[in-house]
């Protein structure tokens, strides 16, 4: 952390603290948050000729190539390379960190990190408060939700139904896949319960799939024909390429509607030729050195510098503390914020329309701090993540780990099916980086072999090769069902250095998810048997995410998916926003982001969030007419 503070000081020292007061210019739209949602909305509004102000709490480091390089250098020297390791923590806009996650003692909240955690289980996902947001460290996986994910209540009796169907979002998914730049081949994608209408006839992705890893190829061969019996339900096991926002070979048949020419991969911001393909850096999380992985800096760059009749301004180091609300009609009159470094003077930004795009927890926090959206009682509630279960083993032969993206293929077979009446659906990542996530390999292997196994010299070298080369692991993203008791709230006793609320979190898992854990583990065990792989999975009661179910223990991690805190619905009495993410209680306010999602399904939520943001942009544009 010390090194992070030095980096932060260096950055702030270069800044000119004299910010000209924003005269009360009235923008068309004021957006809070320069992450992917904010960037997408801003870019769309610019095309429609609107004036946009984006207020971002964090720093703008990523936008200049040299400063992105600073992130990279910082990352190299971090001993524990957690998702936020390249991005220094900023006391003015503090963010959560995986290293802060601990077991929670009943009755005593864990206050060691940015979150104040009452538990009983620690909420284990983090986000990034900087220009570009969490897409700086995200993995890049771009999966659409499945049709049944939108109707969990009516189909399976769990969770809630969305006010939307899959087919309502389909065209927005296509647009999002273009905006992000997703690599996949439709003919390789197979999901349970879907048919050719899922993507539609002739649909193509802008780029071809990321080539499958050697490990994927081994598993594809060895798991061919495998069937898992989930009680009486047959689950056919399938290894399928994963669509991702990562540059690959462009599809020459995909004509970009924005240019009317074949799609060109979008390179790194400020670096016209870098990042046109994934170069196999194997560090997607926490940072892609060449920006072959999509990050919101690319959309922001377009929003600020690209074509369009409108105008987009980004102001960084501006922390929003609350919204000013007209007590007569509930409309938002302004956004109150403070700029740092410098005085804590409160300033106001005014727009005709307002968008909160600060991520699910921050959005809810801001709304609560403003006394907003009280009608439904759902604000801050239904916080969800994908609890991530890891299992790991040694294959009989070397499989070439620590190469390529985090995951190039997965097993989608449990994403949907009749078993959802009994337990969570889940998605399976095939991990390409050996045991890096569960054990800290290969560093941990060196330490073990030198300190415990007493190896040195050529023997050490050979043993490292023979052992690490066989490492492989699964990651299971378990669907979490919404519960009002899983929530974010605020407490005046817990504020940060600028006096803004810290999120106070209550979080737990239900039997539905734990039963999903049990199925995932049992499936994993069977796969290892079939592969002849030696199981090394172990869960310790001292792990922060340790839970017990039916006599077995499991440890889960966060997936970095923060969802549900201002969900959409058909009625103001049980949801915070409408299906276009407009706030029921405040007609000129939109809450855009994963917080609007009523259920999480088994897909990484960013693509859905992007589709929803594009849909919301249309509604906002209409409002401004």
């Amino acid at each position: 952390m010390e090194v992070g503070l030095n980096l932060l000081r260096r950055i702030l020292d270069k800044r000119n603290p004299n910010l000209k007061a924003l005269k009360t210019k009235v923008y068309d739209v004021v957006i809070v948050g320069a992450g992917i949602s904010g960037a997408l909305v801003a870019a769309q509004l610019k095309r429609k000729g609107k004036s946009v102000l984006i207020l971002e709490a964090g720093l703008d480091e990523g936008l200049k190539p040299s400063s992105y390089q600073d992130y990279l250098e910082h990352f190299y020297t971090q001993e524990v390379k957690v998702p936020n390791s390249p991005y220094p923590n900023n006391p003015n806009a503090p963010q959560s960190n995986v290293l802060d996650i601990q077991k929670i003692e009943p009755g005593t909240p864990d206050v060691s990190g940015y979150y104040v955690q009452y538990g009983p289980l620690p909420f284990s996902s983090t986000n990034t408060r900087a220009v570009g947001g969490t897409t700086l460290h995200w993995l890049g996986i771009c999966l659409r939700m499945l049709p049944n994910d939108f109707r969990m209540r009516s189909k399976y009796g769990y969770g809630v139904d969305w006010p939307l169907k899959y087919k309502d979002l389909k065209s927005y998914y296509e647009q999002a896949e273009l905006e992000i730049g997703v690599s996949a081949d439709v003919e390789d994608l197979r999901y349970p319960g879907t048919n050719s209408s899922f993507f539609g006839k002739g649909y193509r992705f802008p780029m071809h799939k990321i080539p499958p890893s050697y490990l994927d190829q081994v598993l594809t061969r060895r798991l061919k024909g495998m069937i898992y019996y989930d009680q009486q339900d047959e689950v056919k096991i399938d290894v399928v390429s994963i669509p991702q926002g990562r540059n690959s070979i462009p599809n020459k048949h995909y004509i970009d509607p924005r240019t009317n020419k074949p799609y060109q991969p979008v390179s790194a911001v400020g670096h016209p030729h870098m990042g046109e393909r994934c170069e196999g850096n194997s560090s997607c999380i926490p940072i892609c050195p060449v920006q072959a992985k999509y990050n919101a800096l690319k959309t922001l760059d377009k929003a600020v510098n690209g074509k369009g009749k409108g105008r987009v301004e980004v102001r960084t180091q501006c922390v929003v503390s609350r919204l000013e609300i007209d007590s007569d009609n509930g409309k938002i009159k302004g956004v109150i914020y403070q700029h740092y470094p410098g005085s804590n003077k409160e300033r106001t930004a005014v727009g005709k329309c307002y968008v909160l795009a600060a991520s699910a927890i921050e959005n809810a926090k801001l709304m609560l701090a403003s006394g907003a959206a009280k009608t439904s009682g759902q604000l801050g509630c239904n916080l969800m993540d994908h609890p991530y279960l890891l299992t790991w083993a040694l294959m009989p032969d070397p499989v070439g780990p620590f190469r390529g993206p985090f995951s190039t293929s997965g097993i989608p077979s449990f994403r949907d099916g009749p078993f959802r009446k009994r337990h969570s659906a889940f998605r399976t990542d095939i991990g390409n980086w050996g045991w890096n996530f569960p054990t800290g390999a290969p560093f941990s292997d060196v330490q073990l072999m030198v300190d415990q196994h007493n190896l040195f010299g050529k023997e050490l070298r050979n043993q490292l090769y023979n052992s690490v080369q066989k490492q492989f692991r699964f990651g299971f993203l378990i669907e979490q069902i919404p519960q009002t008791s899983n929530r974010v709230t605020i407490d005046p006793n817990h504020v940060d250095a600028m006096g803004n609320y810290r999120p106070v979190i209550y979080y737990n898992l239900s039997e539905y998810e734990l039963a999903g854990f049990a199925t995932a583990k049992s499936f994993s065990d069977q796969v290892f048997q079939r592969l002849g792989a030696a199981q090394f999975t172990s869960y310790a009661p001292s792990d922060p995410g340790f839970v017990q179910y039916e006599g077995m223990g499991y440890s889960f991690h966060g997936s970095g998916h923060i969802v549900g805190t201002h969900r959409m619905g058909n009625h103001a009495h049980d949801s915070v926003v409408s299906k276009t993410q407009k706030c029921w209680d405040h007609q000129n306010l939109y809450l855009v982001g994963c917080g609007s999602m009523p259920t999480i399904g088994t897909s990484n939520p960013t693509l859905t969030m992007a589709a929803l943001a594009l849909q919301a942009s249309e509604s906002i544009t209409n409002d401004l007419r």
């Binding site: 390089q69 070979i249 020459k252 016209p272 030729h273 870098m274 170069e279």
Partner: protein
């Protein structure tokens, strides 16, 4: 010293002559790559010369593009590029081909004198002197001859008899990525001229000598200054600003160049300087074998197997890391390091 053979005809009137010229073009573009790479790889990765390193890197990428474009043209007119032969790599120090033997080029570390040599290589065409019987005065004259030859042959033989190569053999941006620009598949006279223009303009500038910019914005690339001026930016420690004129100094942002922040690579190293079987000799041979293999892969991919380019790119990365390691190893000869020697060494040796 190996001589780059010039074709006998000053003007190209036959396909054979065209093939010879284009093969020569590939060799000429390759000529600059090992020297530029040595300068680039000798720069320490301590962040103090980031701007200079990126400038050199961008030039290298464009030279590789030129090689690829020349090869595309050669393929398109029914010829076959030949990159995997012992004369393909020059024996440095070597005279720059078609430069009237005015200066030699060496494999050496990043330094002011190296950059000045690079500027001589890239100097824009202002010579009005006619090309002489076996020699061109500048690279631009050389490419002018190629252009004239293509037009002549299309006029006299008909385009169908000239552009006989298979379209799917062309290198496209499917497998060629990451810099230099958009690669142009050559299928007819227009695209061939396009390709030659891109080579000329990236090297010497649009309207050579009259503008500092390359013509890249025509090809959908951001505006960049031509190679000669990029090297001048390094020498001056200052970028050109929009509106700057060729004969004036750059007036844009300044940047620091730490000339001492380099690995002290020996000038023009040779594997033969070290005893066979010695550890340093083995490391140099390993590099040279890999480099030779790279030429074989490029040869294969440029001859109708574009997908092999992916393997070639992977080998290029691996070579970079080997070269940098050689840059760090003390040579035992004065206070210098070994450095890569870029010599032809087929696998079986």
């Amino acid at each position: 010293m190996k001589k780059v053979e010039s074709p006998k005809d000053p003007q190209i009137t036959t396909l054979e002559s065209l093939y010879k010229h284009l093969q020569l073009a590939i060799e000429v573009e390759h000529f600059t790559i090992p020297p530029y790479l040595c300068a680039l790889y000798s720069i320490k990765d301590d962040g103090r010369n980031r701007v200079a390193a990126e400038l050199i890197q961008s030039v290298v990428m464009e030279e590789m593009l030129h090689m690829t474009l020349a090869s595309n043209i050669l393929l398109a007119v029914g010829g076959r590029p030949d990159l995997h032969h012992s004369n393909f790599i020059p024996t440095y120090p070597e005279h720059m081909p078609h430069s009237d033997k005015k200066f030699t080029v060496s494999l050496e570390k990043f330094s002011k004198s190296a950059i000045k040599t690079f500027m001589k290589i890239e100097k824009p065409e202002t010579s009005k002197a006619k090309p002489e019987a076996h020699n061109y005065h500048t690279i631009a004259q050389f490419y002018d001859a190629v252009l004239e030859g293509l037009e002549y042959l299309c006029r006299t033989l008909g385009p169908d008899k000239v552009f006989t190569g298979k379209k799917h053999h062309q290198i496209t941006n499917k497998y060629y990525y990451g810099g230099g620009g958009r690669v142009i598949p050559v299928i007819d006279l227009k695209s061939a001229m396009h390709a030659v223009e891109e080579i000329k303009e990236q090297g010497e500038g649009h309207i050579a000598g009259k503008s500092i910019y390359d013509g890249d914005h025509k090809y959908g690339q951001p505006r960049e200054v031509a190679h000669y001026y990029r090297f001048n930016e390094i020498l001056e420690g200052q970028s050109y600003a929009p509106g700057d004129k060729p004969k004036k100094k750059p007036s844009g942002e300044t940047f620091k160049v730490h000339w001492n922040s380099v690995y002290r690579m020996r000038k023009n190293p040779k594997a033969g300087d070290y005893d066979p079987g010695s550890p340093i000799r083995e490391k140099m041979d390993e590099f040279n074998r890999s480099y030779t293999k790279l030429l074989a892969l490029l040869d294969h991919s440029f001859s109708g197997h574009p997908s092999v380019l992916l393997q070639a790119v992977q080998l290029m990365y691996s070579l970079k890391y080997k070269a940098v390691a050689l840059m760090k190893i003390p040579s035992g000869k004065g206070n210098t390091t070994v450095g890569p020697s870029f010599e032809f060494l087929p696998e079986s040796t």
